[in-house]
């Protein structure tokens, strides 16, 4: 089992040092084998939390720590954090021309392996074909440039394709449901559910209960005002769907 621990995390935006802290004391422990969901109103710091864990250089940790299996990762750059087991399914994935999807995913997999132990090309292509079939992606998407000209839904599906190919220990999924119709949502959820197991954990950020009907979480957190104000089981998400966030006080 692996554990991701967030301890009393305080975060600012580097470019806006005078702006108040966006996160002001987040505590969270996620073990592999668990799916956590974070819900909460807009502007409450959910994406900041995911980006900070991943190591986005735009954010600055002013207090607290982020640890994998007891080792702080705060000093690691984003690529080293990825190789340590983190993955961030982004809300707005970048488009990169000139680099094909397949080429990129293969490079990402091989970045985790020794130079003399690269994944054999045929094995890689077979895995890629199988995974794309699960996600109902047309085969030509492997040879298209990375996210270039992809629709919003295709980009999200492509994030899940990368997730399934890279097989990280901790997947942070930032609004992976936004802009998806119900069929696409079902497919994306199917991909995440296939990853479930003792060696995988996920932190799912969403505004809507809808996604959690398809990916049933073990733990639900509610975030407001820069920290977690309530934690419970999947029933908490259902309750929030009825009552909204308004009545929840500042803890």
């Amino acid at each position: 089992m692996q554990t991701l621990t967030i301890q009393d995390l305080h975060v600012k935006i580097k470019a806006e040092p005078k702006h108040p802290e966006i996160l002001n004391g987040v505590n969270l422990t996620i073990n592999t084998g668990e799916i956590h969901a974070i819900m909460g109103p807009n502007g409450t710091g959910k994406s900041t939390l995911a980006e900070t864990i991943m190591g986005n250089p735009a954010y600055e940790v002013t207090q607290g720590d982020i640890l994998i299996d007891g080792q702080s990762i705060l000093d690691l750059p984003v690529d080293a954090r990825a190789r340590a087991g983190l993955f961030l399914g982004m809300q707005y994935p970048s488009e990169i021309a000139g680099v094909t999807n397949a080429e990129f995913i293969r490079a990402a997999i091989n970045a985790r392996r020794d130079e003399d132990d690269a994944l054999p090309i045929m094995e890689f292509l077979n895995q890629l074909d199988d995974t794309m079939e699960v996600l109902e992606m047309p085969t030509d998407m492997a040879d298209r440039y990375l996210n270039q000209g992809f629709s919003g839904g295709e980009k999200k599906r492509n994030e899940i394709l990368q997730l399934m190919m890279i097989k990280p220990s901790f997947a942070l999924l930032d609004e992976i449901d936004s802009g998806l119709d119900i069929d696409a949502l079902r497919i994306v959820a199917k991909g995440v559910n296939l990853m479930r197991g003792p060696e995988f954990a996920s932190l799912i950020i969403t505004h809507y209960q809808r996604l959690l009907d398809y990916i049933v979480p073990d733990v639900v957190h509610v975030m407001k005002g820069g920290h977690i104000i309530e934690t419970g089981g999947p029933e908490l998400a259902l309750e929030l769907e009825k009552t909204g966030y308004e009545h929840l006080g500042e803890a």
Partner: protein, 320 residues
């Protein structure tokens, strides 16, 4: 009169000139010698004391490779209705190289024209002129991987009605190199279409200039002229210029331009690195992708060779 070469100190590059050099053609076609009437001072300088080689390409030829190791003057006449892929490989050494290539496309000829430029002489002065007759189509891509100082003038004259040309330039500038491209498309005939797309990557203390000149002359009604000039600077010492120029002397036409001089996109880097790619590899992918948009139509071994050159240059020339 010298052609319009904004920001390029052409006098400095045109003081001396090496003579001679070998031009080979595969499959072998007869090369004759003859005359060429210069249309400007630059052509006159390039022609001085040089032999004018003339290559007539019949409509039955579909692929042709021209290789040269130095300076020269070459006129290529492509027959009407030909469908041709013309590849040029230039590898030079020495002091100052002056190259003039004039490509004449007969009516309805369709030509894919690829320039693999690997000039290594101290100075290189390159002038390529394409003249298109009625309904001729030209897809032209210049891979500018030179180490020389100097400049290139890439001039397309859309003379015939409905002639159409796309000119792509993918250039890499490194070390202390100063190099300028002036890529010019002139709409002369009616309903002609000309597009320019230039991409340049600059490392070390190099300076790269992209001039894009679109000129729609009087009488070229119904024509279209578009251009895009983009340079990416990878180091603090790198300098880039992107200068779009549109000269429009006719109504009832469409024209547009886009230009950018930028550093590497940190959002793209972050995305690639978030999947575990080390920074240097992520940078190389972003740069390759950027340059790739200027290397349209180049594939196979040449593409791999160019990508390998990019990798080698970046490994030496990247700053953190």
């Amino acid at each position: 009169m010298w052609p319009n070469l904004p920001k390029i100190p052409y006098q400095r590059y045109t003081k001396t000139k090496d003579l001679g050099g070998t031009i080979t053609v595969e499959p072998a076609l007869p090369i004759s010698t003859g005359n060429y009437q210069p249309t400007n001072e630059l052509e006159a300088w390039l022609l001085a004391d040089q032999t004018v080689h003339i290559l007539d390409v019949p409509a039955t030829t579909t692929a042709l490779t021209v290789s040269g190791d130095a300076a020269g003057v070459l006129i290529v006449n492509v027959a009407a209705n030909a469908e041709l892929t013309l590849m040029e490989h230039w590898h030079s050494v020495g002091d100052t190289l002056g190259l003039l290539v004039v490509l004449n496309l007969g009516a309805y000829a369709q030509v894919t024209y690829i320039n693999d430029d690997q000039f290594r002489s101290q100075t290189a002065v390159i002038d390529r002129v394409a003249n298109l007759d009625d309904h001729a189509h030209l897809d032209w891509t210049v891979a500018g991987f030179n180490r020389s100082q100097g400049f290139a003038l890439l001039q397309t004259n859309l003379r015939g009605i409905s002639a159409k040309a796309t000119v792509n330039v993918g250039a890499l500038a490194s070390a202390k190199q100063h190099f300028g491209y002036t890529t010019q498309v002139e709409n002369i005939g009616q309903k002609t279409i000309g597009h320019i797309n230039q991409r340049g990557v600059i490392t070390d203390n190099a300076h790269l200039i992209f001039n894009g000149v679109g000129h729609i002359v009087t009488g070229a009604r119904g024509s279209d002229n578009q251009q895009e000039n983009r340079v990416l600077m990878l180091s603090d010492g790198a300098r880039g210029d992107a200068n779009p120029l549109l000269l429009i002397d006719e109504n009832d036409v469409t024209a547009g331009h886009a230009a950018s001089v930028a550093r590497i996109d940190t959002t793209q880097l972050y995305y690639l690195m978030s999947r575990g790619l080390p920074k240097a590899q992520a940078q190389r992918l972003v740069i390759r992708g950027f340059l790739d948009a200027g290397l349209v139509g180049i594939d196979g071994d040449l593409r791999q060779d160019l990508f390998d050159q990019i990798e080698r240059t970046l490994q030496h020339g990247m700053e953190d």
